[in-house]
Structures are given as structure tokens and as C-alpha cells.
Assembly symmetry: C2
């Protein structure tokens, strides 16, 4: 028997909160998963990622298969031991990233052949090879191999792509087999078409997965279109399985997605922003590179408990950003991941208390005030 127990403990409108129980620990939902692309959440030690409140990390099959290689990671005891993270890990299928290699890849019914961005070597990713690579990595939550069409695309192109992904979903399910203690998630496609989304959901549900991702969003369609799909797409999926919105997002995307019934999300944004001097706070985005911070003795957020806010002034953060010091990326990544996890904790508590609407109102009101708190 594959899959994990998913206990929904409360709902508030379409929103849900609960716990996914895995052999490597519990995942509190709604959950935000920091991205550890190349076996590291950039600028963070794993213990620090855990301290921010993360229950689960995401790893990238595409990057890891090329460097250091899935067989090598397997020989070294698997991805958890390799990167020193003992909690659950979800790996993507490699499909999304390999599709982004425009001009360097060839798509057929069998899968995708592509050239490595590192050394030009040729590789095949298919439902079968993706399942094998994710098995070698030791992933706890394995993603089915799918295709995500580049936008803009005609509805015909989106439909053809979605149906290919559904055939690949069946092949992924077959190749995955029965792996106790591991879960396989299918990925819904269908762009912004309710009919195609419904067809995709029905196909996936007929195959049967341990969880269901909503794919093909956060690819440039804009927040309004994304939330438009989320108004109905989660409801097309089984109530008793986790729903994972891939690659999302900004804090307000996350609040909107949770309000619409999403249980899991991942995004590089908090870590990537942290390495470019950008901070996310309860009051919105703050660019620490801006000269207005140069003499500001106040912390980024006086009510934040992260090391950056407890130990340093905006003036210091500005200085180390300008000087290109590594500590800038370290502190701001920590802050951003801490803020994201605090946001998730707040969402979970609000759903449990039946107060998600008030929580969302407060969230938007504080951001509208601007990034500097009144003194």
C-alpha cells in the first residue's frame, strides 16, 4: 500500500487544514515547501530551514540527475543523507524544467530527450526514467512525469498536451508500482479551460494517486487568471487527498490559493529574493538595496523572530547587500523563509479557528499600510 495518511482536522469554506503523516515526519497543511534545487536550500543550512518551521523540502530531479547524478546519490545513501535533511522530501518529475530548455530538447510520445546545460551530454526523461530517478533519490513524494505547454498556447495545443500528460500519468503510475512509505502524486493540466481541467481531473482520479497537483499555473498567466482556475480546480479533485499547487508563489498568491482549497505549495521566491536584497514581510516587499535604509536603526520587522530581525538593523542589511557579502543572502533568505512559514502557521491557525476571512482581511490591510511600521 502506497501513500500517506492525510487527516483533515478543520475546514473553513473551501480552505482545509490537516496533517500528512509520513515515515519521516508529519507535514502540517497548508504547507509551504522551500526549494532545495541542487541538494541545498540556497544560503541555508538544513537545521536553519527546519528552524523556520519547514516540514518538507522540494528537490529538483532535473538538476540532481545531471549533477551529482541520481545513481551517485543512491550509492551515498539517498538524498536525505546526502543533503543532511531527515524530514520528508518531495521531488518534481523533471518535466517542467526540461520543457523550459527551448531548442535543446525534443518531445515525443516516449518522453523528452535533451542536452545537459552543464556539459551538453544527452539524456532521456520519460515517465519510466523519471520514476527510476526519483526512486534512486529516495524521494518521499514522487511527482508523475508531465508536460506543461509554453504560454501563450491555443486551446487545442493545451488539450493535446494535457492528454499526453494523462497518458504519461498512467505510465508513471505503472512504473512507480507499489512502494510502501512513498507516495505518488498526479498532476492536473488543462490551462485556463474548465472543461480541460475537468477532463484531466477525471483521468487522474480514474488512475488513482496519493495526492494531486495543480500544474500549468504560475507560468505567466497572472494572479487573476490563476485564482480564476483555483476557484473551481481544487473542487474537481478528491476531497481526501492532498492538493499541491506547483511553483506558487508570492504571499498574496498563497493566501488566495489556501482560501480556495490548496494544501501544499512550493516556490523559489523567498530564497531567490533573499539573495538579491529583497525581503518579504507582513507589510509587503522591502528592497534593502534602497538608499533609504542606509541609516535606519530599525529591524526589518520589529515583531519578527528570525535572526535577521532579532540581530540586525536595516542599515546593516543595506550595508551587506551593497557590499555583496554572503551574510546578506544568508540573513534575508532566513527571514523570507521564516516569514513564509509564519504565514502558513497563521493560515493553519485561522482555518482551525474558523477565522480565515478575518485573517485574510488583516493580511491585506497590513500590506496596504506599507513596509515601514509607524514608530
Amino acid at each position: 500500500m502506497s501513500g500517506f495518511a492525510f487527516d483533515l482536522t478543520a475546514t473553513d469554506g473551501a480552505a482545509r487544514t490537516g496533517i500528512i503523516s509520513t515515515p519521516r515526519g508529519q507535514i502540517r497543511t497548508p504547507a509551504f515547501m522551500p526549494v532545495g534545487t541542487a541538494a541545498t536550500v540556497k544560503a541555508m543550512l538544513p537545521g536553519s530551514v527546519r528552524e523556520t518551521g519547514a516540514d518538507i523540502l522540494l528537490g529538483n530531479t532535473y538538476h540532481l540527475m545531471l549533477r551529482p547524478g541520481a545513481e551517485r546519490i543512491a550509492r551515498l545513501g539517498g538524498l536525505h543523507r546526502f543533503m543532511n535533511w531527515d524530514g520528508p522530501i518531495l521531488t518534481d518529475s523533471g518535466g517542467f524544467q526540461v520543457m523550459s530548455l527551448a531548442g535543446l530538447r525534443k518531445l515525443t510520445e516516449a518522453g523528452v530527450t535533451f542536452a545537459s546545460h552543464i556539459d551538453g551530454s544527452r539524456h532521456l526523461l520519460s515517465p519510466e526514467t523519471s520514476m527510476e530517478i526519483q526512486r534512486l533519490l529516495g524521494s518521499d513524494i514522487v511527482m508523475a512525469f508531465d508536460e506543461c505547454p509554453a504560454l501563450p498556447a491555443t486551446e487545442d495545443a493545451v488539450a493535446a498536451s494535457m492528454r499526453l500528460s494523462m497518458r504519461w500519468a498512467q505510465r508513471s503510475r505503472d512504473a512507480f508500482g507499489d512502494r510502501p512509505g512513498h507516495a505518488l502524486f498526479g498532476i492536473m493540466q488543462g490551462g485556463v479551460s474548465p472543461d480541460l481541467r475537468a477532463e484531466s481531473a477525471a483521468a487522474l482520479t480514474a488512475i488513482g494517486f496519493d495526492g494531486y497537483a495543480i500544474g500549468g499555473l504560475a507560468v505567466g498567466e497572472g494572479q487573476e487568471a490563476m485564482l480564476g482556475v483555483l476557484d473551481y480546480a481544487p473542487g474537481l479533485l478528491p476531497q481526501d487527498k492532498p492538493r499541491y499547487l506547483m511553483g506558487v508563489g508570492k504571499p498574496d498568491d498563497i493566501v488566495g490559493a489556501v482560501q480556495r482549497g490548496v494544501d501544499m505549495m512550493d516556490c523559489v521566491l523567498p530564497s531567490r529574493s533573499g539573495r538579491t536584497g529583497q525581503a518579504w514581510t507582513r507589510r509587503g516587499q522591502v528592497n534593502l538595496r534602497n538608499a533609504r535604509h542606509a541609516d535606519d536603526p530599525r529591524p526589518l520587522d520589529k515583531d519578527c523572530g528570525c535572526p535577521a530581525c532579532r540581530g540586525y538593523s536595516r542599515a546593516y542589511l543595506h550595508h551587506v547587500v551593497r557590499a555583496g557579502e554572503m551574510i546578506a543572502g544568508m540573513l534575508l533568505t532566513w527571514h523570507n523563509l521564516h516569514y513564509y512559514q509564519q504565514l502558513m502557521a497563521g493560515l493553519r491557525a485561522a482555518i482551525a479557528a474558523g477565522r480565515l476571512g478575518d485573517f485574510a482581511d488583516d493580511f491585506h490591510a497590513l500590506r496596504a499600510e506599507g513596509d515601514i511600521a509607524p514608530i
Copy 2:
């Protein structure tokens, strides 16, 4: 009354161990001071630097006066608060670094005028301005402003430079004044000439300082010439004051310097090496970029207690070095600083036990075995 109590608790030959007591905490000697050039020990959080066992950091006047500026740091509460390090800080005078700006600076009896490497703005460093900048920074141990001649140099040039530095030492002493809770160290010059070193030591001692640095070494003269000077130079200085060897060095330089009576050292080597994939261990230097580590499941040093050695394989460190991930610099800097502080702790314990000769023999024997321990 300026200066700190320096209690020598044991000697072994020329070597000494003791404690410098400052209002911000004790400095166990022999001490290694990590370098926090721009108000950060690169790739480390201050709490992690403390965990390695460091009692005191070094800050660079030249870098800090240009960015973010000494007046700004003073307005923000001083360097300690700014960089979130509550232990003692020693600042250099800026003299050494400004002298390195060949072609961009002009030396007169008054001081050195130079152009900022950041924005080209003109600045004057003199004994008086250096004392003022170090006061604004809030430095615990202030260094006199000196000149260090570029090598190779004639004995006449070294003599003239040393005598200028001695006149500047007097001006530094006068400008420093009486600052309870802060110490001023003079800097001996004189190159590799015993006569000039003796003249410099006599001049400094006549002025009277709270500690004495041995300058003008570790500037390309080679280890043999450096240790040759250290065979006699520490003995020219007062027995009851700390002796600080500036800019040293590799682990074997440190052992040799401590054997010859040096109490304090600083060097960018452990942190800089860590950012280029180089590790320092009890068995010598290890280049993690080397392909022979790609499949090695062993830690860098199985007996090391640092996070890099407790949590990761050589294969992982190799991977993140090759992938250019920040965690490579973070883990290897931590390891290197940890190793350096363990070396200092070992030296202190050996001196206290009267076993420094045995300690040095073991140190050299283990390095001779090579960087991989027998399995």
C-alpha cells in the same frame, strides 16, 4: 588608565598562555582572530563564529571607513551592535591596506592620501584620523597607524620607513589619549634586520603601549625568514604585554609563531580558503574541488566536531563546491575556523601542560601522513 589585564598562566620555553581581560570578555591566548573585514566574517553568522571558539574578531578600518563609514557606524551604536558581535573587536589602523593601493595613494610625513576603491573619493589616513575612526567604530583594541614598506626593499628604505612608523606611533599614542576600557597597541617594524627590530622595539617601549604587534611579516618573505625574525623579535618586547603577529597565517606558521612567544594572530586564510573549496585539517590542506572526492562517503575529518564534518560527506562538499552553492563556502569556512580554534585550544593546553614540543611533533607528524586517514 587604558589597557587590559594580561595574566600569563603558564610558559613553555618561549611560548606563553594566558588571558587578556576586557570589558567585553576574556581573550584566551594564544588567540586566533577571525577577520571580519566589512563588518562580517564572510559566510558566517556571528553566533557561529563564537561557536567555533573565537574570543575576538578583527575589523578593517580601511574598508569600514569607506563603506558604510565610521560616522554612520557610530550613529548606529558602534561596530559591535552594527555587526551583532558582543565580544572584543580589534581594528587595524588602515595603514597596511592603504599602502597596498599602489599608484592610488600619496605618502607624506602627515599621513597617506588615497582614492577609495569603491567610488574614487579622496581620503586622508594619518595617526590622528586613524585613531578617530577606530574610536568611532568603538574598537576595543586599537592599532597604531604605521607604514609597512613594500618588499623587496633596501635596508635604508626599511629603516626610513620604520622610523616614520615610530614617529607615527608617538602621534597615535598622543591622539589616542586616555580611554578606559580600550587598549592601544604599537607595531614593531624593521623588516628582517635584528638591529632595526631592536631600535623599533626600544622606540615603542619608550612610548609605552598596552600591547605590541610584530608588523612587516607575512608580506611575502617566506616562512623561514618570518620564523627567523620571530626567533628574536618577541624577546625584544615587554614580557608582561600581549604580542600580536599580524596577518599570520597557515597552521604551521601559527605553531611556529606560538613556539616563539606570539600571543595573538589574525588571518583571512581560513575564511578565504573556505570560499574556494579549500579545507584545512589536522592532516593538511584538502581541495574539495578535486574529482577524487566525488564518491567519497567519508567526512572531511571524522574526528572533527564542526557542522561540515558532522553532517556531510566529502562527496557532498565536492558537489556543492562544483555547483557553486553558497553552502559550500558556509560549511568550509565554518570547518576552517573551527579547525583553527581547535588548534589554538590545543596549543594553549599543551603550553599549560609543558608539552608544547610533543604537541608540535604530533602536529607535524599527522600532516606528513596526508589528508586521508587510514580506514
